[in-house]
């Protein structure tokens, strides 16, 4: 058992407006017990309880999604919906401490939808969300702007029955609509994370539900990676000592081996943002180098690096498709480099002190293009770092235990990674803005996570 406690973390501060958080929380048996937030920036939101018990699970999932977005103070009402029915009382006290704080309490009694705005404002809510049934197979999600005293948006959506495998993803999409309606920012509720455990590839919803096996069970799998459209993913399997790459369709579950691979050790596939090209590492006797193959036409193998006496591996595309960050051992230990997508203009990306900085590996370019996450050996263990692409400043993000293989959520502010901070290696999610950290999967041995893009509406939720 590892001693855990509150940590004093000293990090260099770089002139970056993003990524202000550190994982300053202490962790005890996988439970977060302390969090440092930047005060006063998160609007309060309340998920209203309703009279239709059938929708309770919708509200529960939605409340968790909104909590996990780390963009709101989630306000839970005690007990039933009695507060909603209570008359507005002038004795409710001072205006809310959190939120917009405009003190606009003169709205009087219930307005649209019969909602008592002053009451919810007094509770600290900037937004209130109501979920009501609409016919047999649909719901209406009403987003109230409490401070503005009006309905912000009404979303009517078909909802599969509770027992349908697509139910949870449909609710996640509604959650993202709420985030979008309130803050104008797309959410990350309708996303999934691929990972490897016991040599098999799995997918899990970002809230930790619905874990499903997606790879075959007769070959050990590694390095899953999503295509940018969320409709396909790729991974590697060991076949008689060779590493074979597969591209699998999410909707049908059907997979196809990637052309021109199969007779070497091919690994770490990465889709180009347009989905036409797959970059990957290939180990041959000469060493390991980065190649690309046209997966649209199944042709045109191209070699991007020629290492000979050193290795090049782990490619990751910039979201504009122009550049590839990768790992190279050209300076001895593996470090993070960058090149044009055609292999030219190779140069160091994440600065390091020769002879002092430890090995750096597993780069992943953020979806907004501004950062590259990777892990680096610090004093014999691995820690997650973030490279600011513009300034090339490198910042250490984690310090509790061993932390590795970071993968970005599509909002470029959440990240999943592997950590043994709770005593065994499992998947965690950190919010870079608040530093809040939560376990994604409390199961030992899960590794190599890959966070999906926002999953398309039309894709069936069953892989």
């Amino acid at each position: 058992m590892k001693p855990v406690g509150l940590l004093a973390i000293v990090v260099a501060v770089y002139p970056s407006s993003r990524l202000v958080a550190q994982d300053t929380s202490a962790v005890d048996r996988g439970v977060r017990i302390g969090i440092l937030y930047r005060p006063g920036v998160r609007p309060g939101i309340v998920i209203l309880t309703g009279r239709a018990p059938a929708l309770d699970s919708v509200r529960t999932i939605m409340a968790r999604d909104i909590d996990y977005s780390d963009r709101f103070e989630l306000i839970t009402l005690p007990g039933s919906d009695s507060i909603r029915l209570a008359a507005p009382s002038p004795a409710l006290g001072p205006p809310p401490a959190a939120g917009t704080g405009t003190g606009k309490t003169s709205g009087g009694a219930a307005s649209a939808g019969g909602l008592n705005y002053p009451l919810y404002q007094a509770l600290g809510a900037d937004f209130a969300v109501a979920v009501t049934p609409a016919g047999a197979d649909s719901v209406v999600v009403t987003v109230h702007d409490v401070a503005g005293g009006a309905v912000r948006r009404e979303v009517r959506s078909r909802l599969p029955p509770l027992t349908d495998p697509g139910f949870r993803m449909a609710v996640h999409r509604l959650s993202d609509r709420v985030v979008e309606a309130t803050l104008g920012a797309p959410g990350i509720a309708a996303t999934r994370v691929l990972f490897v455990m016991d040599g098999k590839a799995y997918v899990i919803d970002q809230d930790g539900a619905d874990r499903r096996l997606v790879s075959s069970t007769d070959h050990a799998a590694m390095s899953p990676a999503w295509a940018g459209d969320g409709r396909r993913f790729s991974y590697m399997e060991f076949w008689q000592g060779h590493g074979r790459l597969f591209v699998q369709d999410v909707a049908s579950g059907k997979r196809a081996p990637v052309a021109t691979t199969g007779q070497a050790l091919d690994f770490t596939p990465a889709f180009s943002p347009d989905g036409k090209t797959l970059a990957f590492s290939r180990a041959i006797e000469e060493g390991t180098d980065i190649y690309t193959v046209n997966i649209k036409d199944g042709c045109c193998l191209q070699r991007l690096t020629v290492g000979r006496f050193y290795d090049n591996l782990s490619p990751t595309y910039s979201p504009d498709g122009q550049r590839i960050a990768f790992v190279s051992t050209r300076a001895g230990l593996p470090q993070i480099y960058v090149m044009a997508a055609d292999g030219t203009d190779q140069q160091l990306f994440a600065p390091f002190d020769y002879g002092a900085t430890g090995s750096s590996n597993a780069p992943e370019w953020s979806p907004d293009g501004q950062a590259v996450a990777f892990h680096r050996d610090v004093a014999g263990t691995l820690q997650v770092f973030v490279l600011d692409v513009r300034t090339r400043a490198v910042r250490q993000l984690t310090s509790v235990g061993r932390n590795e293989d970071p993968t970005w959520a599509p909002d470029s502010r959440h990240m999943a990674f592997v950590s043994d901070r709770s005593g065994y290696r499992q998947l965690w999610i950190i919010d870079l803005e608040t530093g809040r950290i939560r376990p994604l999967l409390q199961q030992s041995g899960a590794r190599l996570p890959a966070w999906s893009p926002r999953l398309p509406e039309t894709a069936p939720s069953t892989p």
Partner: protein
């Protein structure tokens, strides 16, 4: 005036003899007339001396070769002369330092045994798999394991084994033989394994 060509001649003879140490040297016929006995004797002695030196050198090399062969043979003989015994020796693993793919000094002898076995069994084809401990990065370890496998192959090839008989693969840290999380386990897991691909049904002793 005639001494010089004679010395040159005998010098050439010595060089010729030294070049083929296995053969018994022919003593050059004494020249019937001309040079005085003194210089002839000196030439003869110089010739004999270098002959002896060459012979000694040849003997020493032969002795060393024999010793080395004997050493390999002894260790093989110690285990037995069955195919299984040869397989055991062939399967002896070699190990590596952390994040390194350099053959350790002590492991050269282990690879020498594999060279001998491969030479004695021309139909034998093998696969070398490189492995890593769990400390490094999962994916980087595939590249490192590849370096470890090819390092052993290069040793075999540089000792006369045809490259086509040796395949290399890497499993990174995916197949540990010791699941522990300590240096003892890690040291065991940083290794090359050898498997037989073909020609291993009846293996001859080297």
């Amino acid at each position: 005036m005639k001494r010089l060509p004679l010395l040159l001649l005998s010098g050439l003879a010595v060089a010729a003899v030294a070049a083929c140490p296995g053969k018994k040297p022919e003593t050059p016929a004494p020249v019937s007339a001309g040079p005085d006995a003194d210089s002839l004797a000196r030439a003869q002695k110089a010739h004999d001396d270098s002959m002896k030196a060459a012979q000694d050198e040849a003997d020493r090399r032969a002795r060393e070769d024999a010793e080395r062969r004997q050493k390999t043979a002894d260790s093989l003989a110690g285990i037995g002369r069955t195919t299984d015994a040869v397989k055991t020796i062939l399967g002896t693993m070699i190990h590596f330092d952390y994040d390194k793919a350099i053959i350790r000094g002590g492991d050269a002898a282990v690879l020498d045994q594999k060279v001998a076995i491969l030479q004695a069994n021309p139909a034998l084809r093998i696969r070398i798999s490189g492995h890593c401990d769990e400390r490094g990065s999962d994916e980087y370890n595939l590249a490192l394991g590849n370096r470890r496998a090819t390092a052993a192959k290069q040793y075999l090839v540089s000792h006369g084994i045809d490259a086509g008989r040796v395949e290399t693969v890497s499993y990174g840290e995916e197949r540990p033989i010791d699941p522990g999380h300590n240096e003892e386990a890690w040291a065991k897991n940083r290794r090359d394994e050898v498997d037989i691909l073909a020609g291993g049904d009846a293996l001859k002793q080297p």
